[in-house]
């Protein structure tokens, strides 16, 4: 028979597709038959026949082969994992540094990704929660969303078929007074009765709201949330039928919802939403609209239908609806407004970046370790281990490290997530997160972290392994057996990684040092300010029907101002109270931030600055101990509308005015085109005279003198004297109450709710606590960020030092023979040191220079401010600290290898080689 060989490709594929027990037999048989067929029927027939056989055999025996491969991988993987665990123990420093780096990177990445996911695209824990949708208007002129009106809701309810049920709500905090006189501020939803059908949740007690409750003249009723029922009525099973005061209106409790029901967001009581039929879309109140998609309808079909309805509305009401387009998105996207994907992808990209940066650095260390195992690899190769086998083993070792670190990182992320979420919602002034908030890690995030861990293991395991098992293994084996240094080199890629690492440290650490300062800064310990003697709370007035016209609104604010004054008088007469004051917010945050233009009395050019403005009443500055530094404080005569005087703090003079004389100067709100702000103080185009400078508050959550503040008389409020918005916002008639207590009078805090309720039941006091307690959540949040910065900085520093150590160690071990010969021929220790240290020093220097180029511009503002001589060189100083720290650490990393190099006995070294 002729010597025709079968086609190579199908034969090779056949070899791969067949189980090993029958492979040789079948391939041999097919070879035999192929030759016979080719001699009898020609090449083409035989060729096609062979491909056909490949297909037939693959189909019939392929599954057996797949099972066989699975078994092989299973058995070798077990061994590789065992070896990987042994490596973790054998190289503890690498395990600790690499493990911590990957753990921190994955914990931050996973935590951030999950947090953002929960915030922007959560899953709603209601029956078919993914079919709940939100409807609103898109203002084409403003290029942004606009709330729907009651008129829109009624129109949509009549015409939209893709959304089976529609509901509307508004939310606000209201004071609730129990039948026993206990009061509390509760977030109340005014909802249409349909809300309960849409959410498909049955009440725990009594009934939920029905359409009859929405009719004019119906008895006011309320459905309580489980938490409110527990807090205000002690979980009384007879609660249904009892009367509570809601914003001063007696209201009958008709039901209690089960625990955890806080629809639509974080509400704990529900009253009927009552609006008259709105004939005029312009004056129709604003509401949030939601619904449940009809059976068979999708988001797309509902959107298409809504677009048609929107076009009709634009034609019917061109004055109000020409620029509006209704839009619809999943209810789960309530916070993000359906525009979440960009942020989510951004955070996920950050997770990738963090993990990859950590893994790239760990890969440097692993490569250095792999180099020390060069002999082992060469010998294994000589004994018949394939390159694939060795690479897979090194990959498995890396996978053990990465998988274990990622698991620990995910565990930490899960733990921190609950804590961080609590802090986040506390800062958002919500006692709890929205009802759908879930601290656990989602499967998507876990899978994502898993894929990234695998990719990280490829980077850490495969890349160094491919380098170490390159094609020149045979010459290397010869070199090893001959006693010479082997051929592996710490090439350009690894050098670049180390330089990048050092540069990153220099660039990032100054920022971390600054942020880390927050961890140790305690605003209340360093100051003599008796923060525990000050009680603060938000005082607000609830309304049953919000004022709609300008006249109604003016009247409402006027009455509110009178009531707030009565509250002040009532509290001031209490024994133990030293003084009472109102301001537009809590010092340190909640300020109106607006641009101001300063003109001094000379011919100097005006200074443009951005400052925070606090509206204060007559006693505020004295109450807070803000002593006058120059000029005068605010006087009673200043508290008349149109007085146009302000005082500023020292920080404003120091930072905004660069130390220039402020008293007598004028502050003016710059004119801005197209940006009319009704809350800017000073308002655009108006001028205010600075009459004095007061000391910075003794205590500040961000550090002394952190804020530049303009104190304006409360009568300058853009909305109404006395009843300023929390941040000057006209829509929120609320003010910050400050009560200075005499020593040992803390007990009065408990009675403040009652005092306020006795003035008028519609008044509500919320978020009450000492100034220290009010600041604490913000401080805690900054401390948390400080810790994260410090942790990441520590990891970056450790990786840099470890990288330098690995490089030095590698350099010494590679040049042992050379060092020995040089020592033998009389080279001095200094010369030998130079040889060993030169490369590491160059890389260190290169990294420091590169990093400084990035770091100095970042902290340049601080450096410039230091020109006044009053601010410390914090930015520049931290760069110096970091450079010194890194250089010191780098030198320390060199010590062990240098000692090893100097200890080489020439004769022994040459002999052993």
């Amino acid at each position: 028979m002729s010597d025709w060989a079968p086609p190579r490709l199908p034969r090779a594929l056949l070899g791969f597709a067949l189980p090993s027990d029958v492979r040789d037999g079948i391939v041999g048989d097919l070879d035999e038959v192929y030759r016979k067929r080719r001699s009898e029927k020609g090449w083409l027939v035989a060729f096609l026949w062979y491909w056909g056989q490949l297909l037939a055999f693959s189909l019939r025996l392929g599954p057996a082969r797949v099972r066989e491969i699975g078994t092989i991988i299973g058995s070798s993987a077990g061994l590789d994992v065992k070896l990987g665990l042994r490596m973790l123990v054998k190289y503890p420093m690498l395990t600790i540094i690499g493990g911590v780096a990957i753990t921190v990177a994955s914990a931050i990445g996973v935590g951030a990704a999950e947090f953002v996911r929960d915030l922007l695209v959560p899953s709603i824990p209601l029956d078919e929660g993914d079919r709940l949708v939100t409807l609103r208007q898109l203002d084409l002129e403003e290029s942004g969303p606009a709330p729907a009106s009651w008129h829109d809701y009624l129109t949509w309810r009549e015409s939209v078929e893709s959304v089976a049920e529609l509901g509307a709500f508004t939310v606000r905090d209201q004071g609730l007074v129990s039948p026993r006189g206990e009061s509390d501020a509760v977030s109340v939803a005014r909802v249409t009765a349909s809300a309960f059908d849409i959410t498909r949740v049955q009440p725990g007690l009594g009934r939920y709201l029905i359409e009859a409750d929405e009719q004019d003249g119906a008895t006011p009723v309320i459905v309580l949330g489980h938490e409110t029922w527990q807090a205000l009525m002690d979980g009384d099973p007879q609660a249904v039928g009892q009367t509570v005061q809601v914003g001063g209106v007696p209201t009958i409790v008709v039901g209690v919802m089960p625990e955890g029901y806080r629809f639509p967001r974080n509400q704990n009581a529900w009253v009927p939403l009552r609006f008259p039929v709105a004939a005029d879309p312009a004056s129709s109140p604003r509401v949030s609209v939601f619904g449940r998609l009809a059976e068979g309808a999708s988001l797309e079909t509902a959107r298409a239908e809504l677009t048609g309805i929107g076009a009709r509305a634009a034609a019917d009401y061109p004055e109000t609806h020409a620029q509006l387009r209704p839009e619809l998105y999943p209810f789960a996207n309530l916070i993000s407004g359906g525009r979440a994907s960009g942020i989510l992808y951004g955070v996920r990209a950050m997770l990738v970046l963090l993990l990859m940066v950590a893994c790239a650095n760990v890969a440097t260390l692993v490569f250095a370790r792999t180099v020390t195992r060069e002999g082992e690899i060469a010998v294994r190769t000589a004994l018949g281990a394939t390159r694939k086998r060795i690479v897979l083993q090194l990959f498995a070792e890396a996978l053990v490290l990465v998988a274990a670190s990622t698991l620990v990182g995910m565990g930490i992320a899960r733990w921190v997530l609950g804590w961080a979420a609590g802090l986040f919602w506390e800062n958002q002034q919500e006692a709890l997160g929205p009802f759908w908030w879930d601290d656990s890690l989602s499967l998507v995030t876990i899978a994502y972290a898993g894929v990234l861990a695998f990719a990280g293991a490829v980077m850490i395991g495969i890349v160094p392994a491919l380098k170490a098992t390159g094609a020149r293994i045979q010459p290397r084996l010869s070199q090893l057996s001959a006693g010479g240094g082997a051929g592996l080199r710490f090439g350009g890629m690894w050098t670049a990684v180390i330089v990048f690492q050092v540069a990153l440290s220099v660039a990032f650490l100054p920022l971390a040092v600054q942020q880390g300062g927050m961890v140790f800064y305690d605003p209340f310990q360093r100051s003599n300010f008796p923060a525990d003697q000050y009680i603060t709370a938000q005082l607000a007035r609830d309304v049953v029907v919000p004022p709609r016209t300008a006249e109604e609104r003016a009247e409402f604010l006027e009455v509110s101002a009178q009531l707030f004054d009565e509250v002040r008088s009532a509290i001031a007469t209490e024994p133990g109270v030293s003084a009472v004051s109102f301001a537009s917010g809590l010092s340190g945050f909640n300020h109106v931030v607006s641009p101001v233009e300063f003109r001094g009395d000379g011919n100097e050019p005006p200074i443009l600055a951005v400052s925070r403005t606090m509206l204060v009443d007559q006693s505020y500055l004295d109450l807070m101990g803000a002593e006058v530094v120059s000029g005068r404080s605010l006087q009673p005569a200043d508290f008349t509308p149109g007085s146009r005087v302000v005082v500023v703090n020292e920080s404003f003079v120091r930072v905004a005015l660069s130390g220039r004389n402020a008293v007598g100067g004028m502050l003016r709100g710059p004119e801005r085109e197209g940006e009319a702000s009704e809350v800017a103080i000073p308002a655009a185009g108006e001028s205010y005279q600075i009459v004095g400078v007061v000391k910075d508050p003794e205590v500040d959550v961000f550090g002394p003198g952190a804020h530049q503040v303009i104190y304006a008389p409360i009568t300058e409020a853009p909305v109404n004297p006395g009843a300023v918005g929390l941040v000057g916002m006209p829509a929120a008639p609320a003010t910050q109450l400050f009560v200075h207590l005499r020593p040992q009078a803390e007990g009065i805090a408990a009675s403040l709710h009652t005092i306020v309720a006795s003035v008028d039941p519609s008044l509500r006091l919320s978020q009450m606590g000492t100034v220290q307690e009010a600041w604490r959540p913000v401080h805690r949040q900054y401390r948390m960020f400080g810790w994260i910065f410090m942790l990441v900085a520590g990891v970056v520093l450790a990786l840099s030092v470890a990288g330098i150590y690995a490089l030095m160690s590698f350099s010494v071990s590679r040049r042992t023979r050379e060092i020995a010969i040089r020592a033998a021929v009389g080279a001095s220790q200094g010369r030998i040191l130079g040889i060993v240290f030169r490369r590491a020093a160059i890389q260190l220097l290169l990294g420091v220079v590169l990093g400084s180029l990035i770091a100095v511009p970042v902290v340049w503002d601080d450096i410039q401010q230091s020109a006044t001589g009053t601010i410390t060189l914090s930015g520049l100083r931290s760069v110096f600290i970091v450079v010194a720290l890194l250089t010191g650490a780098g030198l320390c990393a060199c010590l062990i290898p240098i000692r090893r190099a100097l200890a080489i006995a020439p004769v022994d070294a040459i002999k052993s080689n």
Binding site: D21, I26, G28, A56, L61
Partner: protein, 110 residues
């Protein structure tokens, strides 16, 4: 204990018995094709051989590699006593099914 043999399994076992000389895949396929007069799937034959071996009805071994097969050895097979017994039982079972049939029925007559 194997209970029965399929028709194709019986063919493969019978082919093993018929083949003279070294018994491996190629002559087994040829034997079945020549005796039945129809083409059979070579892959099906090997899958059946593998299955019969797993059931303990045949055994296999590799012969010495030969140059004419690209250096590949032959996977030779032989039938085991259990295989013979089951094959005989299958034949008897089939014969019993044929027994007592009226020959006229087979000729299509009433």
């Amino acid at each position: 204990v194997p209970q029965s043999l399929g028709e194709f399994e019986q063919m493969v076992l019978l082919a093993i018995l018929h083949v003279k000389g070294e018994v491996y895949g190629v002559p087994i396929v040829e034997e079945i094709e020549s005796r039945t007069g129809r083409a059979v799937s070579r892959a099906a034959v090997y899958v059946t051989l593998r299955r019969l071996e797993k059931r303990g009805l045949i055994s296999s071994w590799m012969s010495d590699p030969t140059g004419e097969r690209g250096g590949k050895a032959r996977l030779c097979v032989k039938i085991e006593p259990e295989g013979l017994t089951l094959l005989t039982q299958s034949r008897r079972a089939m014969e019993r099914m044929w027994d007592d049939l009226d020959p006229r029925m087979l000729e299509g007559r009433p």
